[in-house]
Symmetry: C2
Subunit: 228 residues, 2 copies
Amino acid sequence: MRRRVSIWAVSVVSACRACDEAGSVSTSYAPPVQRLVTELSKLPGVGSRTAQRLAFHILRSSGEDASALAQAIVEVKEKIGLCEVCFNLTDETRCRICQDARRDQGLVCVVEEPSDVIPMERTHEYHGVYHVLGGALSPIDGVDPEDLKMAELFARVSASEAGVREVVLATNPTTTGEATALYIAQELRERAPEVKVTRLASGLPVGSDLEYADEVTLGKAFAGRRAV
Amino acid sequence: MRRRVSIWAVSVVSACRACDEAGSVSTSYAPPVQRLVTELSKLPGVGSRTAQRLAFHILRSSGEDASALAQAIVEVKEKIGLCEVCFNLTDETRCRICQDARRDQGLVCVVEEPSDVIPMERTHEYHGVYHVLGGALSPIDGVDPEDLKMAELFARVSASEAGVREVVLATNPTTTGEATALYIAQELRERAPEVKVTRLASGLPVGSDLEYADEVTLGKAFAGRRAV
């Protein structure tokens, strides 16, 4: 009986999805509304239902709010480019962090994406500068060193006037992120042997429970244990 | 021990939120990015983290995609108005449903919001027309009959040329929706006693389980039982 009920539930849901996708909904929306729903549903994590909810919110909201949003989208594409030094996002030639004289220019933190700079900044522990690669090495997806800001990193670290003492590899602790970190470490050992190359520690997240830690993380935490 | 861990976890999370809200993030974003994040986080269900993810997606996406989204937002606010007959959203003077000669003009379905028309249309069971109130009666929130399209509904139903035979009250099965339905039913009994007034059935949703039904829904389902 339980089983029959759950099959029912599934079939009901898929019928609704079929409706959605067959575009039967679109016949009852006015074309500009449908266009907005389509554009909104291209955003990550926004399905057709969420896109409808957002569209109706925009329709209900004031004209100023809607045009502020549209304006912000246009402006961000027009004004934002990459910093000439670290390739972080900026609306000037150099980003604020590279411009900041209080930051330690001898310490370079290498991250994959501009969005990775924010969590590092949030720690309030890091006072060096950044180098944004624009991705991670992934031969399967056709991402080779030439597709990333690798040459720029090596040139920056090797340049004597920069005086880089340490490169912190803060790529993600994933297969591609680890491969990228390894590649950079090897290259830097050859090109700039006097520069210290470090990697963010892997281990248990603060506030977590040993019981729920996966074996790879726990293994890393054990291998990286420190004297107290 | 468990308790201590969970307190830890909570404090870590709230520390992060405090960071977010104190605007320490904003110091590291370029102003146009920050403006986009702020505008996006005004959308319903979009917090500051989601807004950041969406903003970075827009930054990564092509210029055409971003301008299509901005354009769709501007266009929807410029072109979309309310249908002069049923107050549904439309880009013409009358909505597509009111224009459709195959729809039964003698059957009027009263809903709260334009978004409520879509689920009714999805059933493919309804072939009449609509009347969108623009909300539900709620004296606590200061929503009185004058704030809704009530007078327009009564005029429409009473008009002899319309030939309305039945009004289906499809306001939400909530306190305010029920109050609105009751009010309309009373008014229509006085103003147009020859018109049949009906209400959507309340009962068990299809595919659900009696075991998990709340007592009010089950009570309604019992009261509305039908001969088979």
